[in-house]
Symmetry: C2
Subunit: 409 residues, 2 copies
């Protein structure tokens, strides 16, 4: 089924507002075994007509975002009705929804909002609990137009509408059953290395599609196909990457850590130099993290490492702050001072300045310690820009903790 | 000048990889007074031919990203040459660059890389110091094709190439002088409130275009036009928003703080509860921050607030952790224990759980303290999801510090 996406919105072309609709759709459609064949962004206003006309013969489904608002350059609804020769009528239920939406906020809808209640004949209304503009499903007119889904632009209105009202319709339209799928998240092995290992073993598996998505040292391997095909491929992945597999779902590494620690009734504390608080921030992105994370130290300067974590000044002087002994002292100091069950610590050179021949920019020591467990310090080198370095180091530290919690190290 | 963007890359349509090229181009083109009139994403492979053919009659310039790599589905170069009837020849300088790129990494280029050295006749090579694939500029062929810029997909190769080699050519091609522009970053006033205040005063200014971009409480107001027009509008903005103006450039709030603190020879320390380290992480995103930021406390649990910052347990019991007195005690404890010149502290309810009638999810107290200065505590309510709450609170805390450093509070 050929699906095209048309995003309307001048702001998407002016810079600064990133188009996140496409990744959202791509991700959601994958679960139905569907793909976007083309995506187009156009400014608000007249361009929607031409974009639709061009897209009609190429596609079976068009997902349109934006242009359903009340202002004069929001003309998606009227343009579609005009192109297809469909009369517009005012839908009482939609109008009631718009009115009550305003009244709840102590306002009255004005005449512009009237237009938002107009529905082309033959179209189905997609209810919008999070805004005034309803979505519309205009079924295909044979020989004339493909199935059209018109949706509001704001993500918090679009996303629930797409998941709850558009996806089920697409599933029916695609006429193919939803295929089972599974997502393996693998840490510590590169995308091409994974491909080289698994492809010879799974490329001939029938009824299996697979794909990779790589981000900051984590690779998602997605399998879609028949249940037995997925099982066969899963067995290969488990055999080849056992301890490197973070999860067989879409759960994030940080969620998994919070879940595992919660289940074990344990806590973790952080001592960060080069990541500057990003590890703690990432853990606390997860709701419920307050049960397992009580404190973190951001010890950017040497005296902070000495004072807050008890790192001996002599160690700092002799080895430098970016060194195995200092990482070890940081993590042990963190464990002791925080009374947590586990501690992670990082010290490295984020750059762009501060590197040397011996310790180039990107060098980082990552440590984990646990009550009654061995203290592990790993050296890595993540050569990239400062922001990526911080993210890569954060992922690596969280993964080291995962391996500890799983008993792998 | 009508400019279209064509992004090739299957990964951009599968979800997870966000297309950041468009915002980058939009932002950079704005400085030349240029806009993107349409943007299209297509998968790797054959679709590029059709997309180009459709785009030719609509545009004067096409920016193409991706499809210049060495694998079989990278066919942008060959497709353009084919469409325009241009012969390809192997460029010795490009080949030498590719070879030395591999040799420096201890590898040899293979026969696939050969293709990357092929240049269509009449095209200019855009040197790529950060990768193997050179960019190409294929000048317009009257009556046939617009100006084509072919660029590699990876952002770290694309961005410098665009800034250094494509923008200057676009400037020449557009034949219009680069208009002066200015960017005001305003914190603490909403986009629509700003519009309501300034539009009556600037909408009739001749030779002036303006636009807004809003993100996490910061609004960028961009002015472009004649020098006197910009001065007139700037005077209005300064008069209306004086202390709310973070900068009249594109410098970020955190950069400004690091610059100001560095210039003053001062330091700041952080004490974070609900932001979980994000404030410290944001400050340390800036290279050179180690001079002004020595330590941060992430005191997520009450006992961490008591132990690390000296917040009296009795205060926590009486008022709760999310309260004015606790925010005050946190920031003063942070100032005292860190020996910094300034301290910022936040305590709030990130949600989605933990809210109450009296203190709903989103409630946050933000405090700043300085040696010899008054301690200020602000109460805010940022109702949104957990991640946005953390970001909004971080921006608000950094802005409060800015106002302190500027002497406004």
């Amino acid at each position: 089924m050929r699906i095209e996406v048309i995003n309307t919105g001048t702001e998407l072309l002016l810079g600064k507002v990133v188009n996140t609709h496409v990744t959202f759709f791509g991700d959601e459609l994958f679960k139905l075994g569907l793909r976007i064949s083309r995506q187009t962004t156009i400014p608000d206003g007249e361009d929607i007509r031409r974009a639709l006309e061009e897209s009609f013969p190429r596609s079976e489904v068009i997902l349109v975002t934006g242009g359903l608002g009340p202002t004069s350059d929001d003309i998606t609804r009227e343009t579609v009705a005009g192109l297809l020769g469909l009369a517009l009528h005012k839908d009482d239920a939609v109008w009631e929804h718009i009115r009550s939406f305003f009244l709840r906020r102590g306002k009255e809808p004005n005449s512009w909002n009237d237009r938002q209640a107009m529905v082309p004949e033959g179209a189905e209304v997609l209810h919008n609990p999070n805004g005034t503009a309803p979505g519309l499903f205009v079924p295909a007119i044979p020989g004339k137009s493909p199935h059209l889904f018109l949706m509001p632009g704001p993500p918090r209105e679009l996303k629930p509408m797409f998941r709850e009202q558009v996806l089920p319709r697409l599933q029916t339209l695609s006429e193919s059953p939803i295929l089972p799928w599974r997502n393996f998240k693998i840490y510590g092995v590169g995308e091409s290395a994974i491909a080289e290992i698994i492809e010879p073993r799974i490329q001939d598996v029938e009824n299996l599609e697979y794909g990779y998505c790589c981000r900051l040292g984590e690779v998602d391997v997605r399998l879609i196909g028949s249940e037995p095909a997925i099982e066969t491929a899963s067995a290969v992945l488990r055999e080849e990457f056992s301890e490197d597999i973070v999860t067989e779902s879409e759960t994030s590494l940080e969620e998994i850590l919070v879940e595992r620690l919660t289940a074990a009734g344990q806590t973790v504390a952080t001592a960060e130099s080069c990541t500057g608080g990003l590890i703690a921030s990432t853990l606390t992105d997860i709701s419920g993290s307050s049960v397992v994370f009580h404190r973190g130290y951001v010890t950017y300067a040497d005296e902070a490492k000495a004072e807050l974590l008890g790192v001996p000044t002599e160690l700092l002087d002799r080895h430098g702050a970016v060194s195995e002994p200092v990482a070890r002292a940081m993590v042990l100091g963190c464990l002791e001072h925080s009374q947590a069950d586990h501690a992670i610590a990082v010290t490295g050179i984020a750059g762009p300045t501060g590197g040397s021949e011996e310790k180039p920019v990107g060098t980082v020591f990552i440590a984990v310690a646990s009550r009654g467990g061995e203290t592990i310090v790993r050296k890595e080198c993540f050569t990239s820009d400062r922001i990526s370095f911080k993210s890569r180091t954060t992922r690596a530290a969280l993964d080291l903790l995962r391996r500890r919690l799983c008993g792998f190290i």
